[in-house]
Assembly symmetry: C2
Homo-oligomer: 575 residues x 2
C-alpha cells in the first residue's frame, strides 16, 4: 500500500515538504491540510502587496512561471492532495489518525497517516488591551488580512495609521503605509529601540532616524495601552505618553509558534512555545515531523533553542523533514538568525548575536563599529555601509554581525558571508582573510568584512581603545560631565570647522591627521582625547601614534562622523 503522509499546514514548510516527498516517493499519498482557503503564499511579501509594489495578491501565491498555487495546481502539477478550509482538531498518536473538521460544513472525520508532519506555523501575538477587536485593527498574519488592509486603504478610508511593534513587519508596514499611500503613520515600540535583541542601540537609532526622516512618527519606549474605538471603529491608540489618532492599527508585536495541536497530542514543546524537534526535524514521536514557524531550532552561537519564523528557514526545514520522512538521512543543524529588512532607502541586516544579547549570554563580547565604503571609493555610485562586528575577546570568535547599507545587495552579501563563517565557528582571524570577490564595481580592495575583523583584532590585542557610542552621546549632551575630555578632530580643517565653531576649541580640537606627527606637541597635556574622523581608521592611527609619543590618554570614536551623522543629534552642526 502507498505510504500515507499527512501534512498539517499549507503555507511554506508544508507545501515544500509535500512536493519534495512526491519527488522522493512518487507513489506516496501526500495530503496537505489547511484551515485557510488560501495556501502556499509568500507571507513575507504582504507589506509589498500593501505598499503596491506587488499589485495583485495572486502574485504572492503564484510560481515564478505564473501559475497560481491553489488546490488544483497541487493536484494536477504536483500530485499532492490538499484539503483546504479544513481544521486539524486533534491527533490520535496510537491510532495514527488526525481528526479533521470541514469548516464549510462542520463535518468531522478522521484521516489516517503513516507519517505526520506539523507545519502549523505561527500566530500573531495580540496584546490584551481594550479595543483590539475593533474594526480597523489588523494583524498581518494571512492573505485575508492583507487584502482587507489594502482594500480599506484603496477605498480612501485611511488617512492616519498606527503600527504597534518595531520589528521587521512593523517597519515594513510603516514604510508601506507611508511611502506610496502617504498615510500619516506612527510606529509604536514598547522597548527603548527598534528591533530589540536583533541589533544594538547605534544601528537601531540610525534606523529610527531614517524612518523619522521619511515621515514615520517613531515612538520608542511606549506601550499601547488602549485602542480607542468609536462606533466600533478604531480612532486612536493611547500610549503611556500620548494619544495617536489612527483610522487603522496594525498589530505587529510578534508571533508565537502555533503548537497547541502538538502539545495536546503530548508532543514535547519547548519553553519558547516551539515544537521540539531533533536535527532530522522529528518530534518526540518518531512518526511525527515538524518544520517551519512552529518549531524551535538550535541557535548555533548561543547554543540555545530559538524560534526563527522566516519563510526561507521554513523551506529549508521542510526539505530536510521530507528527506527524513522518505528515509534519506538529512540534517538541519540549526540557525544563526540571518536577517535583513528594507526601510525606505536603507537596508538593515544582522546575523548571530547582538552585543547586548552576547553579553547577556555570558560572552566577553566586544564590538567593532566601522563605516566602510561598499565598493572601490573611486568607483561611481559607491555608498557607505555601517558594520558592527560582535566578537568574544577571550576566544576571538565572531558572535555576530549587524549592518546598515543602501538598498542594494552590498549589505546582504556581507551578512550572508558572515552567516556561513559564524555557523562554522570562525574567529576574527578567519574573518580577516575571508576571500571576497574583488573588482572595483563590486567591492573595495580591503573588503568591509575584512576591515571589520582588522578593527576587532586591534581591539582584542588592546592596540585600539574605543569609547562606546552611548558614552560619547552622554558626553556630548553634557560636556561638563567630563571637563577633562576633548574631542580631537583629525579630519580636514574644513570638515572640523563647523564643530569647532559650535563647541569651541576647548571641547573640539582640530588637528588634521597628516599633521599629527609634526604638531602633536601642540596638544593640551591635561586632556583625555576622543579621536574623531570620518570612518574611524585615521583616529586609530592617531591613537597609535599618540601612544608612541607618550600621549596615552585617547580613545577612538568608532565609525566616526559617518556613524554619528546617521544616528543624528541636535548638537550636530550639520545633518
Amino acid at each position: 500500500m502507498a505510504k500515507r503522509i499527512v501534512i498539517i499546514g499549507g503555507v511554506a514548510a508544508g507545501p515544500k515538504a509535500a512536493c519534495r516527498l512526491k519527488r522522493l516517493m512518487p507513489d506516496a499519498e501526500v495530503t496537505v491540510i489547511d484551515q485557510d482557503t488560501i495556501i502556499s503564499y509568500g507571507g513575507c511579501g504582504i507589506p509589498y502587496y500593501v505598499s503596491g509594489d506587488v499589485s495583485d495578491e495572486k502574485e504572492l501565491r503564484s510560481t515564478s512561471f505564473h501559475m497560481l498555487r491553489d488546490e488544483n495546481f497541487f493536484d494536477k502539477a504536483k500530485g499532492v492532495k490538499t484539503l483546504t478550509a479544513t481544521r486539524a482538531l486533534a491527533i490520535d498518536r496510537k491510532k495514527k489518525t488526525v481528526q479533521l473538521e470541514d469548516l464549510k460544513t462542520g463535518k468531522r472525520q478522521d484521516i489516517e497517516y503513516d507519517t505526520l508532519m506539523l507545519a502549523t506555523g505561527s500566530t500573531p501575538v495580540v496584546p490584551p488591551i481594550p479595543g483590539v477587536d475593533a474594526q480597523g485593527v489588523f494583524t498581518v498574519s494571512d492573505m485575508h488580512k492583507a487584502i482587507a488592509i489594502k482594500d480599506m486603504i484603496a477605498k480612501g478610508k485611511v488617512s492616519k495609521a498606527a503600527v504597534i511593534g518595531g520589528g521587521a513587519i512593523g517597519i515594513e508596514m510603516a514604510e508601506a503605509l507611508t511611502d506610496l499611500w502617504g498615510i500619516e503613520t506612527a510606529l509604536i515600540e514598547f522597548q527603548s529601540q527598534l528591533l530589540p535583541r536583533i541589533i544594538d542601540w547605534p544601528l537601531a537609532t540610525m534606523l529610527a532616524k531614517h524612518l523619522r526622516d521619511h515621515n514615520v512618527a517613531v515612538h520608542l519606549g511606549e506601550s499601547a495601552e488602549e485602542i480607542i474605538v468609536k462606533d466600533g471603529k478604531v480612532v486612536a491608540v493611547r500610549t503611556g505618553k500620548r494619544t495617536v489618532e489612527a483610522d487603522m492599527v496594525i498589530m505587529a508585536v510578534g508571533v508565537r509558534p502555533r503548537s497547541e495541536l502538538a502539545r495536546n497530542a503530548g508532543l514535547l514543546v519547548s519553553a519558547n512555545g516551539g515544537i521540539v524537534v531533533n536535527e532530522r526535524m522529528q518530534t518526540s514521536d518518531p512518526d511525527i515531523y515538524a518544520a517551519g514557524d512552529c518549531v524551535d531550532i538550535m541557535h548555533l552561537v548561543s547554543g540555545k533553542r530559538f524560534v526563527a519564523p522566516f519563510g526561507s528557514m521554513a523551506n529549508r526545514e521542510g526539505r530536510v523533514a521530507a528527506d527524513n520522512m522518505a528515509g534519506i538521512p538529512s540534517v538541519f543543524k540549526g540557525g544563526v538568525g540571518s536577517f535583513i529588512v528594507k526601510a525606505f532607502e536603507m537596508s538593515l541586516g544582522s546575523v548571530g548575536l547582538s552585543l547586548q544579547a552576547a553579553r547577556a549570554e555570558g560572552f566577553a563580547a566586544e564590538f567593532s563599529l566601522s563605516s566602510p565604503i561598499d565598493r572601490a571609493h573611486f568607483f561611481p555610485g559607491h555608498d557607505i555601509l555601517i558594520l558592527e562586528l560582535i566578537f568574544d575577546k577571550r576566544s576571538r570568535k565572531v558572535l555576530g554581525l549587524q549592518g546598515i547599507g543602501p538598498v542594494n545587495d552590498a549589505l546582504s552579501a556581507r551578512i550572508d558571508t558572515a552567516a556561513v563563517a559564524i555557523a562554522a565557528g570562525a574567529t576574527i582571524d578567519d574573518f580577516a582573510n575571508i576571500e571576497m570577490a574583488y573588482s572595483p564595481p563590486f567591492s573595495p580592495a580591503i573588503d568591509p568584512i575584512n576591515a571589520a575583523a582588522y578593527i576587532a583584532d586591534n581591539l582584542c590585542d588592546n592596540r585600539m581603545r574605543q569609547i562606546s557610542i552611548e558614552d560619547f552621546y552622554s558626553f556630548m549632551a553634557n560636556p561638563s560631565s567630563h571637563p577633562d575630555w576633548q574631542v580631537l578632530d583629525v579630519r580636514h580643517k574644513n570638515e572640523a570647522a563647523p564643530f569647532v565653531e559650535r563647541f569651541g576649541a576647548a571641547l573640539w580640537h582640530s588637528l588634521p591627521y597628516e599633521q599629527m606627527r609634526d604638531r602633536y606637541a601642540e596638544l593640551p597635556t591635561d586632556k583625555k582625547f576622543i579621536v574623531f574622523c570620518n570612518a574611524g581608521s585615521r583616529s586609530f592611527e592617531v591613537q597609535i601614534f599618540l601612544d608612541y609619543a607618550g600621549v596615552k590618554s585617547s580613545t577612538v570614536l568608532p565609525g566616526g562622523f559617518n556613524v554619528i551623522n546617521r544616528i543624528g543629534a541636535d548638537w550636530l552642526p550639520v545633518s
Copy 2:
C-alpha cells in the same frame, strides 16, 4: 636600535604591510622601495579610468578621504619612508643588504635591513610576436601606461582597437574602449572560450554573446601572430584567421610573478614563478617575507599552489606578513580564487574550481546549472542569475561555483558566501542549508545558493539525469545525429509554440508541465526525451514523474530556456 624593515614594492601588499608595521611597531624604521614614481594605486581601477568612470588618475591613488598617497603622504601621515624611482638590483642575504639604483641619477647604494619584504608584484606577459614594440601597443600594467592609453584615446587617435587576451583585464578594457568612447573593438583570445580555466563553456559563451551584443567583436581560438606596423605605429593585428585593423592594441594575455630578485638571491621560487612562502608569508629565508602578486599560495580546493594576482589578496597577505614581521603569529592559509568581473550589463563571478579544472584535478566532478531569480519573483526589479555549482559526486564536496547576473551585488553575495563555505570544505548538504538573509527585496525564500545545492543533491543521488549544454547544442545543430531524441517542452503552450513551429512536433514536442500527469500517455514511446522548461525545475519534476510512470528515457536540460537564451544560437526562434 630601531628595527629596520625594507619593503621592495610600493603598490598594494608593500604599502599595506608598511603601514600596518608602523602601527604594530611605531619605532620601526620602515622603508618602501619602488622603481616607479607613482605608488600605492588601485591598478584594478585602470579600466575604469580608461572608460572615464574615473575621471582623474589621481583618484586611483587617493585615500577614501581624498589624500594623494604619494611619498609625502607616507612620510607625514604614516611615518613610512619611500624611495621611489629606485630599483632593487640584488639582495645580499648574508650581509642583509639590498643594492639599490637611483633611476634618476644612476647612483647605486646598499640599504641594510633586519627584515626584508618582497612585494615585487607581477609583470605583464608579452607574447614574442613581431610588432609588439610599435607605437600604440600597450600593456595595462601601471599608471603610466593607463595615462598614455587614455591620452591617446582622448586625443581622438583611436577609432579601432584590438584587445589581445580574454581574461578579466581584456574584458574590462574591451568594455572601456567600446562603451564610452565608441571605439570599434575586437577581443582576441587564443583559447576556444573567454576566461579559460576560470569558468566553463556555457557561462563563457554567455559572456561572449553579451560582449558581441555590445559591439565587441569577439574572436575565439585565434592567436595574434603579428602586429602589423606602419611608420612605427600599429595598424592591425593578424591572427591565423583574419586581420583586425587597430590604431591601438591592448596586450592583456596575463601576468607572471616578478620573482627574479628573489630567485637571484637564492630564494625558493615555484614552478609557476611565484615566490614560495609559508602560511606566515615567510620565504625560504626566515628574514625575508613576501606577499602580493609575486608569491604563490595554496589553493584550498585543489591543494596545489597557485598565483592569485588580486589587489584584495595582496592587501590581506600584506597584513599577515606585517603581523609576522612584528612578531604576531598570524596565518594566511591560502585561497579559493574568488573572482568577479563586470562586462557591460553583466556580472560574472567564480570561486573554487571550474568543472573542467575539477575534472583535470581528478575529482568526480559534476555540475548543477540553474537559472534562479535573484530576489522574490513578485518583487519589482528582480533579475535572473545563472549559477553553476561544481561538486564531487563521491564526497559530495562543493568544488566551485560560477555565475552570471546583472550588475548588482546579487551574484557577488553568492560567490562570497560560497567562498567561505568552499574554503571550509562544505558539502552540497551544507550548501542546502546555508542561511541566507531573506526578505523579498533582497532574496527569494529559496535562495539560489540553496536551490543549486538541491539540484546537486538530486544529481548525486541519481534522481535527476541531465544532458550537458554542449551535447544539447551538438544535437540541435544536427538533430539527425540522434533521430530517437525529442525535446519535450513542458512550458506554457504559447512559449513552446515558436519552437514547435520552427522544428516540427517530431523534434519539439509541447506538453505543459501541469498536464503531464493526465496526458503522459500521449507521448511517443520510441523517443528519448530532453525535458525543457524555463529554469529546469519543472523539467526535473517531469523527469521524476515520467520515471514513475515507466517512461525512463529522459534527461533534463539544466537551466532551461534561460540558459540557452543567454548562450544564444542561430536556431533559436527568439533571441
